[in-house]
Symmetry: C2
Subunit: 309 residues, 2 copies
Amino acid sequence: MEKRLVFGHKSPDTDTVCSALVYADLKKKLGEDFEAVRLGTVNEETKFALDYFGVEAPRQVETVSNEVNEVALVDHNEPQQSVDDLKDVRIVEVVDHHRISNFESAEPLYFRVEPVGCTATILRKMYKENGVEIEKSIAGLMLSCIISDTLLLKSPTCTQEDIDTAKELSEIAGVDLDAYGLDMLKAGANTKDTSAADLISLDAKEFPMGDAKVEIAQVNVVDTEEVLARKEELKDAMTSKIDDKGLNLFVLAITDILKNDSTVLALGKNTEKVEEAFNTTLQDDVAVLEGVVSRKKQIVPPLTNAFKG
Amino acid sequence: MEKRLVFGHKSPDTDTVCSALVYADLKKKLGEDFEAVRLGTVNEETKFALDYFGVEAPRQVETVSNEVNEVALVDHNEPQQSVDDLKDVRIVEVVDHHRISNFESAEPLYFRVEPVGCTATILRKMYKENGVEIEKSIAGLMLSCIISDTLLLKSPTCTQEDIDTAKELSEIAGVDLDAYGLDMLKAGANTKDTSAADLISLDAKEFPMGDAKVEIAQVNVVDTEEVLARKEELKDAMTSKIDDKGLNLFVLAITDILKNDSTVLALGKNTEKVEEAFNTTLQDDVAVLEGVVSRKKQIVPPLTNAFKG
Ligand SMILES: [Mn+2]
Ligand SMILES: [Mn+2]
């Protein structure tokens, strides 16, 4: 069988990197030849998970059509979040848990999107459906995906299915869910050694809202003050991004993974939309949003509405 | 739980009508309230299947947002093939086996498309995955879907999974697969009592090809000559459709379900594309395409290429 590549989105997170590895493992056991690759740097949280379970990171690629004719996508389906030469290859499978947008196929394919907290939760079912046993390290990677995407089962995107799957996987992986989860999230929450430019871009996504271009970056921390101490440096980095991309608004969400709150730093000509969306007042460009941890469910929708109104 | 509707595409075929009924049955057994509805007339083939297994046809609707807030789609995903007010409701689930095109969702949903011959083949797996037993009449409806979409397992769209599923379902339904299948297809192949206008529109789909608008209608028969005897009448109906819709080409494929060939009648200013695509010559607007039974796999792709070339 012809070799294929499988990968997640640009600015890869733990779900994207590990789900690609897991998908390739499942397919290998079903007799298909898939190699997992990635479209960007492995972050500190993902590194921790890979090291813990003794798995090597996938190799990084810039393009895929120079290597293969066919690919599978995990953890994304929108072409602008994918590899630049996606249009030059055939997509044979998609496994994802995001909204569906701008996806077009010339032919029928296997396309599976479910409204759960994490891609790995769907992959875990695919092992079951195909009667394939899960190795310890693979269970560990899937567990890491769920912990990362649901902030240790605390995000509003987390479903009962994610919770049940995480418990089951922690047993196969032989780790204590809470202890391992907190260690992994903390590894990704180390902001000291990360430049301001990286902090605002490692997990950044751009969203069109009405006629406005809005960029929302998110960084997980265990010490919000440590990041806010570098506010001027962060503002400089954000301002040059605003100029470069012609943004109307740049929001950096600093999410405290222990308290489950987010502190937002907002810059640009439309910062009043942040005040409107969250019924708050920015003080020196900053506001605390209590109980907010999910960009997808708690930041994007109210902000989109504010730009509509 | 709030009531929802489930339906297939306009110009409903057996897979669309029966898969909606089957989907509603599965959901009911899982404690969810779905009603199956349809967007057009029940054809003769579908009527045969419903009567045989003693199931009532779903009720016909023109719009859905006047009744419910949420819907599920089976056997289609392209909005232009769906209910007119689709944009006014939330789509919570899609189960389909066609290419993905123009589908957009604001939020994640359950979206399952697989490259198999028939929607019911996927639904059959969903019963298994959810541990739900299949009643005799429901098995009969699913079997009818597979027979219809794969022309009794002979279409090139038919996969091993469709074949295995059909065999298993015929046992649950207590029918002989070949005998029942031929009877059902023949019921749909009775063209005598159907007007020319209906023959060219009951199973018609429009495709943009390059800058051209191409309509391809298909009719299943056991006696091609019976249809060709009404050629002038059919040409009149096709010509007025070409004028109405500004078509570049109208192809009527008369598919012999016993011989597994199609005879095409082609009209419009671009009939040379038919000759090019199938390397044939039209004689009095007619050509026989040997071994061609699938519009999706054997007619649309070569014709699309001819319009590109
Ligand atoms: Mn994810
Ligand atoms: Mn179908």
